[in-house]
């Protein structure tokens, strides 16, 4: 029994997927809009039957009239509900980013040639948005998709539906976004502070104790980031010296995947994410080193995002979106 159900379900999905391509952009039309009465609509239908029976039994013309009037309105509402959705253009804008566990916002832009009222954007498991789009204007909204783990996040389907005007019928279509959002690893502060810290009085001492990092100091030249200037030294003797890190593991300025030996890979990424956040908040300079990927030390929000994205997508392949067709 359940096997049949499963099969039917799969066929239905396949059929829907054929009709609704995975695209960031959709124009809703007759082909892709589905419409059914809601629960209330079914009750309304039953009510109409009961009213018709009452009219027949008491031979009451006015009850007949009322029944026909409401029945015709129900059919008219069907067209109204369908038209409300039909002709709507939906575009997924650049999806948002965030840490695993947080809801990720997918931004949507709606446009219609007519007034489209009370359009609900729903995601299977998360709050949606309800938007009204006056004819000829652009309206932006966002759907929040809960994220569980790092990587690419692509909601399977976003349901675009409307119950306007009476709530007796629901018309809907699906949007299958093609561009995934990027989910950073959930930041977890490592149990021990990463080896080394840069508030030691001299970097050399640290360096010696690690025995692994080599910092090459060279005179400042044009183009060097001011953040790389060793300001402590400058305050001591007025020398503008730039620290050129080549240090490997455990460098205070390098966040390294290998810095947490023996730890699970995902957990390491989470530690690194936490450290990136920490460094970024402290306004420090850091670089990131992952197997197969190195991001040169830098600072700033752009850099932070770059690092987090690298952590998020490390050894992840983008979901089969556009290649589908």
């Amino acid at each position: 029994m359940s096997a049949i159900k499963l099969k039917a379900n799969r066929r239905w999905r396949a059929w829907v997927n054929r009709r609704i391509p995975r695209e960031d952009q959709r124009h809703l039309d007759r082909r892709s809009i589905f419409i059914l009465p809601t629960g209330a609509g079914v009750v309304f239908g039953v009510l109409l039957v009961v009213m018709l029976l009452t009219g027949i039994n008491y031979q009451n013309s006015l009850i007949y009239l009322l029944t026909f009037l409401l029945g015709a309105l129900f059919v008219a509402a069907m067209h109204q509900t369908h038209n409300n959705l039909s002709g709507l253009d939906i575009a997924m804008l650049k999806p948002g980013e965030g840490f695993a566990g947080e809801p990720i916002a997918f931004h949507v832009r709606l446009q219609a040639d007519h007034d489209a009222t009370a359009i609900d954007l729903l995601n299977d498991n998360g709050p949606g948005a309800s938007l009204s789009v006056p004819g000829g204007t652009l309206v932006d909204g966002a759907i929040e998709v809960p994220s569980r783990e790092r990587g690419y996040l692509l909601p399977d389907r976003v349901r675009v539906e409307t119950r306007f005007p009476f709530g007796l019928l629901v018309a809907w279509s699906w949007l299958q976004p093609a561009t995934p959002a990027i989910v950073y690893p959930r930041p977890i502060t490592p149990p021990q502070a990463p080896e080394g810290s840069d508030d030691g009085e001299n970097a050399e001492a640290d360096q010696r104790s690690q025995g692994q990092d080599q910092v090459e100091l060279r005179p400042w030249r044009e183009g060097d980031l001011s953040a790389r200037v060793d300001w402590k030294r400058y305050s001591r003797n007025g020398e503008m010296v730039v620290a050129d890190w080549q240090g490997e593991l455990g460098s205070p300025r390098w966040l390294d995947f290998e810095g947490f030996p023996g730890t699970d890979h995902e957990l390491r990424l989470s530690y690194l994410a936490a450290l990136v956040q920490e460094r970024s908040q402290a306004g420090e300079v850091w670089g990131l080193r992952l197997p197969g990927l190195t991001i040169e030390p830098d600072q700033g929000d752009q850099h932070r995002k770059q690092c987090l994205r690298a952590l998020a997508t490390w050894r992840q392949t983008p979901p089969q979106g556009e290649g589908d067709r």
């Binding site: 009452t54 039994n57 009850i63 026909f68 067209h79 253009d89 040639d113």
Partner: protein, 687 residues
């Protein structure tokens, strides 16, 4: 337990509340006062909750309120069960539901039961005015529902009303067609509509002195349309009941009405146009089985049947308005004589009482030679002596006949009919009182007759050998005006006409404007009742028989089904056309669409909203030979939309057509090139 109700938008709730109040209006005279008050209170409570002034009751308080009101209801109903009492309970349930309306789901439940309440209203009120009120209630409900489903700024009631209006207008033809063609089936089962409810109207017992309250009511009893000429006022005696048993104070029917069996509410009028001798009566709901007919009438429509005494009865009490048709026949002599039992029955009198009257009867009997002469002598006595017709008679508790004849000499039809019958019976002439209506006023343009409760009348029939039952009307002898032109003129001097009924338009019959207006309203209502409310089985068949083809119930079913199908089809086609029309308005945009489609067919992903240049580049990637063509085409497009010549060329249709033709040619070349150079798309998809 949460007792706050923040979920529902106030606007929607307010409109729903208004809908409820409007739907209560048609029931105001049927429901007990306390129930109406409770409903208002409960609705007000809910609104105060919405305003944040009070809270919704908790479970115990709610149960308490519910218990109290239901107990009150049970006490009022006291065991009767009918649709009437069920409808009252329904209203009570709606009222109570307000106290637990928190969520959208509750809102829907209320909406549904209120819609059904509208249908219940139609069971009891079918006049055009109440119909409009009920429909207004439905409109309020539907606007409320729309406001529930439109968020924020766009839920203005005006918009909802406009939308609803346009929907109703568009569906109106279908609704009307359905109304006309939907087969009117016989009822499937039946429940009595109204249980013994006090209604204004004739009663089957008459105590002289009681009846005057009818004379103070201007409610309509029935309306009549005549196929031929309308009989004169003095000939319009509408017989309904025979009262032949007297216990000294009250006249009643010898036999009680046979118990009415449950049957269908038969509204069917006759079929086809009225013949010259026919008349069509539309009777208001009376809750009784008797109907009104002129002398020498024969039933034409099947819903009335004759009973002894030349009267007619309905199959079951008229708890809604009923239409029936009668035909006037030439007077036939009643050839047979009374059976001994009938004779005994029409001579019955109490053993004692009213001795003076009995003596008078004996005197008259010796003074005259025939029964007819004796009867005439009674009328002569009324005519010649100082008897008065008045709506304010003194009370006559003991020996009422004696008191009237010899002491007060004041009374109205019931008194004089009672006295006349008493005298006739005392003199040994079989006689009986007939109760019904007499006269009636004409409606607008004299097209039909309106008979009101104040036209109620009682007169006498006496059995005269060789003639049968002869009508004797003592009131005609005392107050000819009453019979010739009606009660208003009969009591004009007294000024007692509708003296208690300040709101009745009939009271102001001498004000021309009021009279005109009231008659026009009545005409609208009469036609509404006859043609819309009364559009049932026979009337439908009648209408259908005038159409070509032999249309029966089954054919009507087919017609209805195909009507629904056709309407759905037309609506679907219109929707489809409108949508495709909207997109193909611009021929150039159509070309671009075709271009994009051609690319997509080759498996290229084309992002929406690309510029023509981007399209050209994609095309060049895909099929290099088409590159230059595509660039030219893109240039054409840009020129068309943004070029300096666009304004000029728009005025010059020929040039635009030429440009369009060039673009078409280029496009088909591009498509050909694309088809000839298929190239896997995946390699160029990612930059």
């Amino acid at each position: 337990m949460s007792t706050r109700a923040p979920m529902l938008p106030s606007g929607a709730l307010l409109w729903l509340l208004c809908g409820f109040l409007v739907l209560l209006l048609p029931q105001w005279d049927r429901l007990p006062l306390w129930l109406l008050a409770a409903c208002l209170l409960l609705a007000g409570w809910r609104w105060a909750v919405q305003q944040g002034r009070v809270r919704l009751p908790g479970r115990w308080l709610r149960l308490g309120v519910m218990g109290t009101l239901i107990a009150g209801y049970v006490a009022t109903v006291s065991g009767h069960f009918s649709v009437d009492t069920a409808a009252s309970f329904f209203v009570l349930a709606v009222g109570l539901k307000w106290l637990e309306t928190r969520t959208r789901r509750d809102f829907f439940v209320l909406f549904f039961i209120l819609v059904y309440l509208a249908a219940v209203n139609f069971l009891f009120q079918q006049g055009i005015g109440w119909t409009l009120v009920t429909l207004a209630g439905i409109v309020l409900l539907l606007v409320a529902l729309q406001m529930l489903h439109t968020p924020g700024a766009s839920h203005s009631p005006a918009k909802g009303l406009r939308r609803l209006g346009s929907m109703m207008l568009k569906t109106l033809p279908v609704v009307l067609a359905l109304f006309i063609f939907f087969p009117r089936m016989a009822p499937l089962w039946s429940v009595p509509l109204v249980s013994g409810e006090a209604r204004t109207g004739l009663s089957d017992a008459m105590t002289p002195g009681d009846i005057s309250n009818l004379a103070q009511s201007s409610e309509r009893a029935f309306r009549v349309t005549f196929g031929g000429a309308m009989p004169a006022h003095r000939d319009r005696y509408w017989r309904a009941l025979i009262l032949d048993r007297f216990d000294g104070t009250t006249w009643s029917q010898w036999q009680d009405e046979p118990p009415s069996r449950l049957g269908r509410v038969d509204l069917d009028a006759g079929i086809g146009d009225l013949a010259d001798n026919q008349y069509d009566v539309l009777m208001e709901a009376s809750g009784e089985r008797w109907v009104y007919a002129l002398d020498n009438s024969r039933a034409v429509s099947g819903n009335v049947s004759p009973v002894p005494g030349n009267l007619f009865r309905l199959e079951r009490p008229a708890d809604t308005s009923v239409r029936y048709r009668m035909a006037l026949e030439p007077a036939t002599e009643d050839p047979r004589s009374l059976t001994p039992s009938e004779r005994r029955r029409y001579l019955q009198l109490p053993e004692q009482g009213n001795e003076r009257s009995r003596r008078l009867a004996r005197e008259l009997s010796t003074a005259t030679n025939s029964d007819m002469e004796l009867a005439q002598s009674i009328l002569t006595r009324f005519r010649q002596q100082a008897y008065f017709y008045t709506l304010r008679p003194p009370t006559m508790p003991d020996d009422p006949v004696d008191a009237l004849l010899f002491d007060t000499k004041r009374g109205f039809c019931a008194h004089y009919a009672s006295a006349t019958t008493f005298l006739l019976r005392s003199a040994g002439i079989p006689s009986r009182i007939v109760a019904g209506y007499q006269g009636g006023s004409t409606g607008a343009d004299d097209a039909y007759l309106i008979v009101r409760q104040y036209d109620a009348h009682a007169w006498v029939e006496a059995w005269i050998a060789d003639q049968g039952w002869v009508r004797l009307d003592p009131t005609a002898a005392i107050s000819p005006d009453r019979i010739e032109s009606g009660l208003r003129d009969a009591v004009a001097e007294e000024g007692s006409f509708l003296e208690d009924d300040w709101t009745s338009p009939q009271r102001y019959g001498d004000v021309a404007v009021v009279q005109w207006f009231s008659l026009q309203m009545d005409r609208i209502n009469y036609n509404w009742q006859r043609w819309v409310v009364g559009y049932q089985g026979q009337s439908q068949m009648d209408l259908m028989s005038r159409l070509p083809g032999n249309i029966g119930l089954k054919e009507l079913g087919y017609i209805t089904a195909s009507l629904v199908g056709l309407a759905l089809l037309v609506a679907g086609v219109i929707t489809a056309l409108r949508h495709s029309g909207g997109r193909s308005a611009d021929p150039v945009a159509l070309l671009v669409e075709r271009w994009v489609r051609a690319l997509r067919q080759q498996g290229v992903t084309v992002p929406a909203g690309v510029t023509p240049e981007q399209l050209a580049r994609i095309t060049a990637d895909q099929a290099p030979p088409a590159g230059r063509l595509a660039q030219a085409f893109a240039r054409d497009l840009n020129n068309h939309y943004y070029g300096s010549s666009s304004r000029r060329s728009r005025t010059d249709n020929r040039q635009e057509a030429l440009g369009l033709r060039v673009m078409r040619r280029r496009l088909s070349a591009i498509r050909r090139a694309l088809r000839e150079h298929p190239k896997p798309s995946s390699s160029r998809n990612r930059p």
